[in-house]
Amino acid sequence: MSDLLQLSAVEARAALASKKCTATELTQSYLDAAVQTEALNNYVQLTHDKALEMAAASDVRLQAGTAGPLEGIPLGVKDLFCTEGVETTACSAILKGFVPPYESTVTSKLWADGAVMLGKLNCDEFAMGSANETSVFGPAVNPWSDSNGPNLAAGGSSGGSASAIAAQSALLATGTDTGGSIRQPAAFCGVVGMKPTYGRCSRWGIVAFASSLDQAGPFARTVADSALMFSSMAGFDAKDSTSANSPLPDLASAMAAGVKGMKIGIPVEYQRDGMDAAITTLWEQGQEWLKDAGAEIVPISLPHTAYALPCYYIIAPAEASSNLARYDGVRYGQRVEEGGSLDDMYEASRAAGFGEEVQRRILIGTYALSAGYYDAYYLKAQKVRRLIRNDFDAAFADVDAILTPTTPSVAFPLGVKQDDPITMYLNDVFTVPANLAGIPGISVPAGLSSDGLPLGLQVLSGAFCEEKMYQVAQVIETQSGFSGAPQRAAGRANS
């Protein structure tokens, strides 16, 4: 039944509605695909029984005519989302064995709309990383990797989500994006990844990395699937004080409308030296597609772009250093008892429980918030953040959306950037500004590099204007005719 894996979510919904297949069949196909592509290490836990139970319940509802918008759609969950009764570790040793007695708001909403949980997906430890290499379970592998060559990074932090969507072992997947953790792996794996406006999706029940930047979003194979899933995830939640009570725009009509008459901004600051030529070419190509579809291309300036990355690497670690203080081995997760005192236990538990990158960021963040350094680092970074947001506000006063590359490079082999955190951080150079500004961004696969690796274009729009972003993304998807078929997807011989 591997042909079931070829259906998009929108198509699968139609197939389920017209009884061409059952949710159980569809789910079983995905569970099989996940087992078949196990080597990609994108699942950290397959919830086989739960998936089939949920699929059976979906079949009952499909039969009864009470199907939800995502009824019977098999969906993977980044291991950062707390899932009731299912171990949730944030891919960190310190949370090993933690089984939440509660379900995150976002996943609750997805289940309420009928989605079927396949399992928990790999990610960087506490979502800190750009290659999924900091996971305690080891890296997720990019299914575009040549089986004869080195394994390529799926990207991060939501590497497992992107890898599973591309490998066709999940039809939809959740991700979180703090500095590009949805969009960058989506670009690397040739799938659609979207970070909503900050406040659109509740953060309740998601293991926090950097609270003012974290935002959950959908992974999908098509722009329409992405919009479908986003509509289920989003919504005001009184349990999250930063949740926005703003009605969701009509995405379907926006996507059907095309881009005729829209103004698309091209930020001059995103043209970087040393960027892959293929990426520059694709970016120009994207502008042509939009022009052909009737949009007006306008050069714009986002003058503070260069400061986004350093600013991010102050704010995110600062918040993380505080958010991760609760992992002390006392109430949940892994405890290491060494020495006699409480402080000894804290130190031993945290030293053993946190990986190198997480420790690095806790230290950076602790330093940035320290007395005497706060003004120079954290406060200054917050001021820069405001300037970056002002840049976007000014831009969106003039243009409807902004088009940029998603990443400055294609997927790189695993291991090569591990020793150099700064080079690794540069992966996020085009994605971080949207997090700092709180605006939505989507990465759409739009072409291949000369090595046959996928490349993504990023569309940004103003806060709470996701419809404009989807409007442009839909045109790029259509015009590019990208049909991602990675070598190691399920059903392929050499996967």
């Binding site: 509660y102 009184a238 004080s241 600062a318 109430r331 949940y332 320290s370």
Partner: protein
């Protein structure tokens, strides 16, 4: 009255500032829906948020915000329409989040004032620096296991108001008056129950000494004092220690100290060098706290009359002494009792009966006003029976004692015991005649100029009447008869 303390090298001035932690009266915690009820079993009032489970988020409790605004208004303070919650980061077993959510740079309430009255009749205006909202931590129990500490998170996340005074206090007595007055205001407002035994009100006291006119000395902070007596004792002990150290050629270090209630001394807990770097920063889980002036005005309009205003009204309108007014307004319950008992009557007489007889009896019986066997109405009725001449003041004391004992109404007691005052001229004259007849020798002495004997005749007559004769009439009639 001078507040200066005499040392070996001359006089010293004491400078005190207080940080009071007042638990906000609210059914649920500052950022979670957990109950705040006192006395629950360990870890019974703990939500996922209070236990800092992964992915949990704080949501501000509007009631606590309202209470803080109300308190700010009661302290005549500036109310900040925008304030910010910060994280105060430190590791401790009873702090599950690894940080306390507090307000650091932008508190909800700014500068205000509080007026204290001292026993010498002087009053002092003490500046309030700020009031902010913050979470309480849990409790570590060290006596449950030989080598382990147990943690009770019931208090974790409970809303506190930290009320910081300016360094305007100059003596232990002033500090005591300050905490009493603050407690009184909080209780009038209903924003904190003021129960110091249960930990609803705790104070950190900053103390320094200096030669009069000199710049401020180095201060120490004595933490977590939970009674007025301990606050005052700790200040006296700390002042004495500081003067001794300085006069002995030593130096005072900025440090945190603990008051040992068994020795009555303070001892060092941690020095400034060991002080935490709390790494304050705005809590990214919470938006700045904002509300409108209109909202503040609404709360202001519903504010109850506060002790200062009430006291002034009692002095000006009721004619009470400043002291009586202060006693009657210290507790809201007392003031309400008094209002009920005295309305439509001689306010001064009722005030007197309350502050002398009723408080005396309650004290002796170890009862609070709320447990008084005599209701405000019953006390008022007793006063009525005095003022209308039904009983004398002296008889009234017996009636009062009976009322206190049995809870019966004064009229019933007077009726059943036949204590009604004798105001019949004929009956009193008959008694006087009898006394004169039986004490003819004394009558002669009196008439020969020994005026002092008049009291003897009054006493004998009253005794003969069983205390029931109207004393005014006895006086008058005796004077006539003895002429």
């Amino acid at each position: 009255m001078s507040n200066l303390v005499q040392g070996q090298t001359g006089e010293w001035e004491v400078v005190i500032g207080m940080e009071v932690h007042a638990q906000v009266t609210s059914d649920s915690k500052l950022f979670s829906g957990s109950s705040t009820a006192f006395g629950a079993g360990p870890n019974q009032n703990v939500s996922l948020v209070d236990a800092a489970m992964p992915g949990m988020l704080p949501v501000i409790n509007g009631t606590c915000v309202r209470q803080a605004i109300k308190t700010g208004l009661g302290l005549k303070a500036d109310i900040n329409l925008t304030s910010v919650f910060d994280r105060k980061n430190y590791f401790y077993a009873d702090l599950p989040q690894g940080y306390q959510i507090s307000q650091f740079k932008h508190p909800i309430v700014g500068e205000g004032v509080l007026t204290i009255e001292l026993s010498d009749g002087s009053s002092h205006v003490i500046g309030i620096e700020r009031l902010h909202l913050e979470q309480d931590a849990g409790k570590s129990l060290h006596d449950q296991h030989p080598s382990k500490s147990y943690i009770d998170l019931n208090r974790s996340g409970v809303a506190l108001m930290e009320i910081v005074s300016k360094p305007d206090l100059r003596s232990a007595e002033q500090a005591g008056a300050y905490i009493k007055k603050l407690r009184s205001i909080l209780r009038y407002l209903g924003t904190c129950d003021g129960n110091m035994e249960e930990g609803s009100l705790r104070a950190d006291v900053n103390v320094s000494v200096r030669k009069p006119g000199a710049p401020l000395g180095t201060r120490t902070e004595t933490k977590n004092l939970n009674s007025v007596r301990f606050i005052m004792q700790s200040i006296d002990a700390e002042v004495e220690r500081q003067i001794e150290v300085i006069e002995g050629g030593g130096e005072i270090f900025q440090e945190t100290r603990l008051f040992d209630t068994s020795t009555g001394m303070t001892r060092a807990m941690r020095s400034k060098e060991d002080a935490h770097d709390y790494r304050y920063f705005p809590d990214p889980d919470l938006l700045p706290l904002t509300f409108t002036q209109n909202y503040v005005d609404q709360i202001a309009a519903e504010l109850p009359e506060l002790p200062d205003d009430l006291r002034v009204r009692m002095v000006n309108d009721y004619g009470l002494s400043s002291y009586d007014a202060a006693v009657l307004t210290e507790e809201r319950e007392t003031a309400l009792f008094y209002e009920k008992a005295s309305i439509g009557r001689d306010r001064k007489i009722v005030a007197n009966w309350m502050s002398v007889e009723l408080f005396g009896a309650l004290n002796k019986a170890g009862k609070t006003l709320a447990e008084s066997p005599i209701t405000p109405v019953a006390l008022g009725e007793l006063v009525d029976l005095i003022t209308d001449g039904t009983i004398s003041g002296r008889i009234a004391k017996d009636v009062f004692a009976d009322m206190f004992e049995t809870g019966k109404a004064a009229a019933n007691i007077i009726e059943s015991k036949g204590l009604k005052q004798v105001s019949d001229t004929g009956a009193i004259e008959a008694m006087i005649d009898k006394v004169i007849a039986e004490n003819q020798d004394k009558v002669d002495e009196y008439r020969n100029g020994k005026d002092k004997l008049f009291g003897f005749f009054v006493g004998q007559t009253m005794k003969l009447s069983g205390g029931q004769a109207n004393p005014g009439m006895v006086n008058q009639l005796l004077k006539n008869k003895l002429k």
